[in-house]
Symmetry: C2
Subunit: 286 residues, 2 copies
């Protein structure tokens, strides 16, 4: 089987690369903090000293890093993937990143005789671990078909959304819906507390109906328990909402709910909650 490159083996990427390895694919890894790749290296994965060196050895490369600036460096840096990329290779960025950057990567990969796909995910660490991620793909249909058998090892709901950047745009839709809903969940709980209601009983009354949501079912109980351990980091959510807001502004699309959510999460991060989970938004209402 072909050797698959994987860059970024953190909480999400580590599990995702593990599924490729479990399916029998030889892996070649690069990650900023080598210790994070150690479990996969111990199980036989090879190591590359830079994205360029990794690209020279693999026909398919996945990346799952942090911020668009990391994506930019991994792809366009001096020792970046695009420097070492083979002709005919496929590069798949699964980071939630800037749609315009995904377009730039795809154009450059094509110029070099290869292909690129943007394929950000939702489903969190649990989805990564259980290979039940939702994967939102953008790029050429050909690149998508080529990546599909490998994506199926990592996710369950895999949807092709159109040309380069479309996967990123879809992921930003996801974040837009979450942000406003998180504001609503927090405000419902804040209102309940202020009126002297028992918030647990309020959740019993409202979770099963038209107010029901994943966040209400999964994050509201953590808010009430004072459990702010990160399922998804505030700092990463701020990044995503900033990308969505930037894209919306570029398109002259007025999204007041997104503006509000982005501002509230940014203030939360700036107040020192960047490493908390997104449920920490409830602290704003304390």
């Amino acid at each position: 089987m072909q050797t698959i490159g994987f860059i970024g083996t953190g909480v999400m990427g580590g599990s995702m690369a593990g599924h490729l390895q479990n399916a029998g694919h030889p892996l070649c890894l690069f990650t900023r903090t080598r210790a994070k790749a150690q479990p996969l290296l111990d199980r036989g994965a090879a190591w590359a000293d830079s994205p360029a060196q990794l690209a020279a050895r693999c026909e398919t490369v996945f990346t799952m890093v942090g911020y668009p600036s990391d994506v930019e460096e991994v792809y366009f840096g001096d020792c970046g993937l695009l420097t070492g990329m083979r002709r005919g290779a496929l590069l798949v960025d699964m980071t939630t990143s800037q749609p315009a950057l995904a377009e730039r990567i795809a154009a450059e990969a094509e110029r070099l005789g290869g292909e690129a796909l943007d394929a950000p995910v939702s489903g969190g660490d649990k989805g990564a671990r259980e290979a039940t991620l939702s994967i939102m793909a953008g790029g050429s249909r050909h690149a998508y078909e080529k990546a599909l058998p490998l994506l199926r090892l990592m996710g369950r709901e895999i949807v092709y959304h159109g040309p380069a950047g479309s996967g990123q745009h879809c992921k930003l839709c996801n974040q837009i819906a979450i942000a406003a809903n998180m504001v609503g969940v927090c405000e419902a709980l804040a209102y309940a507390r202020r009126t002297g209601l028992d918030p647990e009983r309020v959740l019993r009354s409202i979770s099963g109906g038209a107010a029901g949501s994943w966040s209400l079912a999964n994050l509201a109980p953590r808010m009430l328990a004072g459990d702010f351990a990160p399922g998804f980091y505030v700092k990463h959510f701020v990044k995503d909402l900033g990308l969505a807001l930037e894209a919306a502004r570029t398109m002259r699309l007025d999204l007041p709910g997104l503006s509000l959510g982005e501002r509230m999460y940014r203030e939360l991060r700036d107040g020192g909650e960047g490493d908390s989970g997104t449920q920490a938004l409830i602290k704003r209402y304390a």
Copy 2:
């Protein structure tokens, strides 16, 4: 079995009263538009010419009307329930109404030797028809226990939330959570459309994960289909959000998401969409 009074036999109330009748309870009805009571009258229910006359004939009375002003008239009007109320009677208002008004009704009922309960519902016309409503009760524990066997004929998740007004406060929590989420759902779809994504495919990608919600699953498809038939009226939602905002302001609780949602829905109503379903909010982003 005791005769039960029911005031307000519209879409919701008609189904709810029907369940009481089906369980064998003789009904006595009053409603502003007599035609709306006709199906129940045809099946043997009695008619009263005013709330006061109805109250004189029933130990338990349910009300399910439109606005707090209607509740005020039905209870405190010249021919209101409290004028004709028997000693020991129980009055149950299931309208979504003002928490402070629920407190006033309970105090006055008690002064007259009876009891009152606020017990607004969620679950819509479907929940009313199928007797699967979520019922949120406030009032004395004694009144709640007394009403419970009858509430069980109309709902599934029935929760006692505390003193008079608590049921209304819980229902407003429900509406607060819905409003912000509706903004998020609309903005996710608006963003998808503007970027040229296929919104149906976007829903496939995001409905099953952390962005998932009742509104995304049930109302987003209607938005995409251009189906604005009312499951829940914009005009009623504006009323509920106004009540929540008023209560929050009284408590000096700053809820920016609620403020935004209330303003957007109010503008939608003022723009002529009062009789549309709440999913018509998407029109704001057209």
